[in-house]
Structures are given as C-alpha cells and as structure tokens.
C-alpha cells in the first residue's frame, strides 16, 4: 500500500513539475491579480486594490483553482483569506452551472507538501466534494502531514481502526494502532482518546514528552502585584537572571527555588511554591538546549496576566485575569538559538477572592507550527504524574 501510494505521489509531483515548467514559459495572467491581493496588510492596507483584483479573479473558471491555492504559499493570513473567498465564490458558481472540479490538478496540488497547509486542506475538501472515495483513499497516507487538519483526519481513521480492534478484543493490534495514532496526533481530543485507550491496554504513555511541555522550572517570588501594577513593574529577574540572587519580595527576602510540573499536561502550579497568595508576581525560568537554530512556537496557557521572554527578548504578554484558558491558548512565534536558550515567564496573580481565582498556573511547550514537540537536548526525565489522564471532551 505504501509503495503504491509513494509511487502515485512521485508521478503526481513529476506531472506537477512539468506543469510548472509549462507555466513558467507562459505567464499566468491571474498572477498579477493574485499579487495585488498578496499585498494586503495591517489596518486595511491594500483593501481597495484587492477588491478590484478579487472581482477579476472570481470571473475565472475552475481551472484557476490551483493558481489561487498556490497564491496562498507564503501569503499573509489576510491575503490567504481573500484568496480563499475567491476559491469559494468560483467553486460555488461553477458547480451550480454544472462544471466539474479539476480533481487531478487539485490532487497534484494536495500532494505537494511544500504548499501552504491550509491551502492543501482546501484542495482536499474540494476533492472530497467531487470524489469522496478518492479523498478517503488519500487521507490514509497523511498521518505525518504538515497540515494539522489533514493529519487529524488520518489520525481519526487510525483511531477508528484501533477502536474496532479493541471492540473485537484484538488487544495487540489495537495497542499498535493506538500507539501509531498517538504518535501522529496533534489535537488534544485525539491525544486524550489515544492515551486513555493505551493506558487501558496497559501501555505506557508519556504525555508531557509527547506535547513537549517544559516541566522543570526555577521560580522566584512573590513580588508585589497590588492594584495589578506588577504586570508593568520591572522586578530584578527581568533585568538579570542570577539564580543565586536574593530579592526583597512581598513576604521578605527570597530567591529561586525548584518547581516541577507533575501534571500530565505540563501544568505548573505556582501556588505549590509560594502557597495560595494574592496580589503577587512571580517569575519562572528554564534553560532549553536546542540541537540547532530553528524557528519554533512557544505555546502558553495561563489564566493570569503573563509575559514571556526568550533569550532576553520579550515575545509577548497579556494582562488578563481568570477569563479561562486551554492548552495552546497562546501561540507565539520565536527563534531558538543553537545551544542554550533562556526562557523567562512572568506570572501575575490578582486580588479576586472567588475560589476559582486562587488558581495560579501555566503550561508552556516548545513545538513547531504543526504542534510537534521540539525536545531540548537537556530535557530531564518526565516526572511521575500527579494527575490521571483527561477524559476526552465531547462537544457538539
């Protein structure tokens, strides 16, 4: 199955390259308009020209779809949305008129993983509309796809297969397929499902490592946060990291102490270090050894006000308290250096008295754009879990 699939990809990409060479010889008139759309930017910049270009583009027939999808490669999110709306408009009109989607060309586009992930997913959904069976056959090979949505469907297929094995009491087969599904899964609900089943089958699961949560921290605090002024205040750790330093804190002199996240989902409970305190600011520090320089995402979850620095550079901060959080709440683009990287997180707790405002926690992981964990070369062993695995959430 795999060799047939690989062969099909090679054939499709060869055809794609031939098409690309032909396209290079004949300039694509759509590209001028796509280029205008790609120039849109912040605060509405370029909207008027984009509108005119969009109206021209949507006069195209379905053969324009691969060009529009390719136009999303490297485009900013706004331009991608303009182009997506053009794809929608053309498809809707042409299908109503009885035209047929260019399935082969869309498949060629889909199979080239260099294209923008969301554009490839859109191509897949168009194929799905035209030929559901073909789409289903393609998804099986997308277990490691850079598109999180394509990968999700492939994982779901495996979860279904594994569940069928499980139901039929074929524990060994079920375990293997659940393990493959978990390795590939990037969405929390699918990870939860696979982890739960694997544990029921007696298989070990290391969720903090799967996600890439940072579990070992040095923390310093509490500093003051009266009247929520701590968020803007600059306390000594923001000026210099010195792990043997002593600071004048809110409750007297203090320094850095160890704090380990025993939570399955990397939740670091700051109250474990300082007790349940209010109107307080703390810092958490960790060092991350990277095998190479590379872009990454710092994915943070926190329901308190926070700031984060990577290698001394402020990445982002959000001054909000107790409105809720979830894993990967904030996705922050950053650049890891080869070797040692320093990560500093500022965490503020406010004055609210309600029981649900006692929580003072955060979760941080380092991963790539697909959510695949980037593991530090100095990553310590995963601590013994304190909490049991989450139950999968069911939402409408």
């Amino acid at each position: 199955m795999k060799s047939i699939f690989t062969g099909a990809i090679l054939l499709l990409l060869a055809a794609s390259r031939a098409d690309a060479a032909a396209a290079a010889a004949t300039p694509n008139p759509l590209n001028v308009h796509i280029g205008i759309i790609r120039a849109v930017d912040a605060e509405g910049k370029g909207n008027e020209k984009a509108r005119a270009a969009w109206l021209t583009l949507v006069k195209s027939d379905l053969s324009a779809l691969p060009s529009l999808l390719s136009g999303m490669d490297g485009a900013n999110e706004l331009a991608a949305n303009w182009l997506r709306a053009a794809v929608d408009a053309i498809t809707e009109r042409e299908l109503k008129a009885g035209a047929k989607l260019p399935v082969f060309a869309l498949e060629v586009f889909l199979m080239d993983t260099k294209h923008e992930a969301r554009a490839r997913r859109l191509a897949f959904e168009l194929i799905q509309r035209a030929d559901a069976a073909k789409a289903e056959s393609l998804i099986a090979g997308m277990i490691d796809d850079p598109s999180v949505e394509l990968r999700r469907d492939a994982v779901q297929r495996l979860l279904d297969i594994a569940a069928a094995h499980d139901k039929a009491k074929r524990a060994a087969e079920a375990g293997k397929v659940f393990e493959t599904a978990l390795t590939a899964a990037r969405d929390l609900d699918q990870i939860d499902t696979a982890a739960l089943k694997l544990r029921q089958l007696g298989k070990p699961v290391d969720l903090p490592r799967h996600f890439g949560f940072l579990t070992h921290w040095k923390v310093a605090g509490p500093f003051d946060n009266t009247a929520r002024k701590g968020f803007a205040a600059v306390f000594p750790p923001e000026q210099k990291i010195q792990l043997d330093a002593k600071y004048p804190g809110k409750a007297g002199e203090m320094g850095w102490v160890d704090l380990v996240a025993g939570d399955e989902y990397g939740k670091v409970n700051v109250n474990d270090a300082f007790g349940p305190v209010k109107e307080a600011t703390a810092y958490a520090y960790s060092e991350f050894q990277s095998d190479k320089a590379r872009p990454c995402e710092l994915r943070l979850a926190c329901k308190n006000a926070w700031k984060i620095w990577l290698n001394g550079k402020l990445i982002f901060g959000h001054d909000e308290y107790h409105r809720g959080t979830r894993i990967d709440h904030y996705r922050l683009n950053a650049e890891l250096l080869a070797g040692r990287n320093t990560i500093l997180v500022k965490l503020c707790q406010n004055e609210q008295k309600e029981t649900w405002t006692v929580e003072w926690e955060f979760q941080l992981r380092v991963c790539d754009a697909t959510g695949t964990a980037i593991l530090a070369t100095n990553r310590p062993p995963t601590p013994a879990p304190k909490a049991t695995v989450r139950k999968p959430e069911v939402k409408p």
Partner: protein
Amino acid sequence: MKPLILTLTLAFAQTLCAADWPQFRGPNGDGIANDANLPITLAPENVAWKIALPGRGLSCPIVVSGRVIVTCSSGPRQERLHVVCLNAADGSVRWQRQFWATGRTMCHDKTSVAASTPVSDGKRVVALFSSNDTVCLDLEGNLIWLRGLTRDYPNVSNSLGMAASPVWVDNTVVAQVENDSESYCVGLDPETGRNRWRLNRPIGANWTSPVVMRDGPRTLVGLQSKAGVDAIEPATGKTVWSYTDGAATIPSSVSDGETIYIPSNGITALRPSAGGQPSQLWRNPQLGPATASPIALGNRLFTLNAAGVLNCANTVDGARLWQLRLKGPFSSTPVAAGKHLYCFGEKGHVQVVDTTAPEGKVVGELNLAEMILATPAVADGAIYARSNVHLWKISKR
C-alpha cells in the same frame, strides 16, 4: 412609529427595505418588529423550515432583501469562520463563504467565535467574529474587504470570547473590541475597512453592543462599559457626553428614540438633551437584567432577570408593574411584535407574552428542544431563530 424612530431608521441606512432586520435587535436596535404579523399561539406546524448550520454560533441571524444571513464557526479550535446566506423563502443556501481566523479563538464552551451579530446597510454586510476578524461582503457574497483586528492590535482579545455586535451609522461601522488587556472602539470606513478613527476605551472585559440614539438633531452612538456610557459621534469617534455611574458589561442599553435605558444600578433612564449632559429620568434597582438586554415597548420597559423572571416597568417613572416567571434562563434578548414579546429561553422554549394582560400572560409556546442563546430576527411575518446546530423560520401557517 414615533417620528424620532423614523428619523433614526433613515439615518441608519437609506437602502434597507421596511421588512429588513439588518442588525442585532432589528432596524432601530430596539428589538421591535415593524411587521406584527407573527404567529401567537405557536405549534410545530409554525416551523416553515429548519436547516442545519455548518457550525456553532450565538450571533443573531439578520434579514436583508429576502436573504437570511448568519455567521458560524467550526473546527476543533473554532478557527473556521462562516458567513452563510440563505433564501428566506425556503432556507436554501444562496452562498456561503469561509475564512480562517487570524485572531485567538479561545472562548467559553457556552459561547462561540460566532457571537457578534452581523450588520447590513441593505447592500453590504459586515460580520465581526470573536477572533476580531471582520469581513465585508455584498449581498451576492462578493468580498469587499477584510480586517484582522487582533492581527492589527495583538492584545485585543478576551479569553471568555467577545460578543459586541457592530452598528452601521453615518457611513461608519462602529465596533467595540473591549477587554482586559487592550481596549478599543473602532469606526471603520465601510468602503475600505480602514479606520476612520480608533478610540481608547476603558480597560475591562465588555460584551455589550453599541446603541444608536438620538440627541437633538444628531445621531450618536452609545458605548457602554463598566464605567458607564459614552455617547460619541459615529463619523469622528468624538465623545459628546458621558454617563459615569457604571453599567453592566453583558446586557446592552436600548433606546426608544427619546430615552436610553441603561443596565446601570438596575436600570437607569436617561434623556439626552441636545448638546449637553443627558438628564436622568429615573433609576430602579429592581429592574436589573441578567444576560438579555432590556426592551422598551410603548410605555413599558421589560427586563429578564437571572431567575428567568420578566419584569415590566413603566417607562415614565420606572415603577415595576408586574413580574412573570418564564421558562429560563435567558441569554437571548426578547423581540416584540405588536403587543407581544417573543422570549427564547436557553433550553429552547419559545414563549409569547401578551404584555397587555394585567400581570402579563404567556399566550403561546413552542419547544425547539435545543439550546438557544441568540436573539431572533423578525422579518416579513416570520421569526428566525438559531442554535449551535440549526436555524428555524417560524411563521403563520
């Protein structure tokens, strides 16, 4: 219809049809349907059609030129944003567009990224999502512009979700994007989507929607927050007057064209006076609304409290006249047609209240059996309601 209301309607947009329901709480933003020909004693047969939606949402449907336009969000992280246009006659899809969220989509499980109600001038529609993505389309689904307000102002987000619905007045789309970390109101040029102005707003989560109101010869927009209400000129964002006695951050104020009823210290009634500070007519702490916004119908004001009790008060002095327990709780704001209020409970119970009965009386009921959080739309003798799953048209058989 009061002359002032008529003036307000004309200021709002020249191209709307009389039967349109182009924004949150209808053409005047007061929840009152000009068309009173709605069914009263409801039965399942009153469901003219029911269609499945492509995603979740508690934004209200709007109705423009025979089209029902509704927003939804879908996907594991609610990152797909939908604008769907249906034929009002039969619920068939005219067009639908999808966008990818560029802002954060975190919100409470009960709400959705599709929480703000779109607004139309009769020719175009502007849809705002909790991710602060804002798109403008014409009635055929052609894209006119789009913005990513969180992309522009990265700290504009609320982890519970945002919900303020924009208004379209004096050729400006006014949108409140107010929260704990960075808080603005923007006036957008409907031709280009660019800022006409951007106003710093009080820091603090705020889910209330702007309210269009008259102040002498001018049309102003009231911006509610925990601090109170600021009345601004929609074309410039300039503040004309401020009421600073605090206000709720969930139920929105309502104007009957002469008086603005603010969810503040219960309800506080203000009468704008051309050029100066408004005068306070009355205040009644018994009338405090929970999630649903107040509605003024003739000389009566109605609010729904957290216990699902409908309060009826006199608009002249704010005195409470009666209370009626309904099947609540309510997130949806009631709408009115003739003497009847249409109240949609969270558990799906539609209750029609005769407001002229001595203590108020439920005269019609229908159980839609799904969670209803959205305020309905009323147009052409029909009422349009939506859940996370379906959209219904309810009309006379």
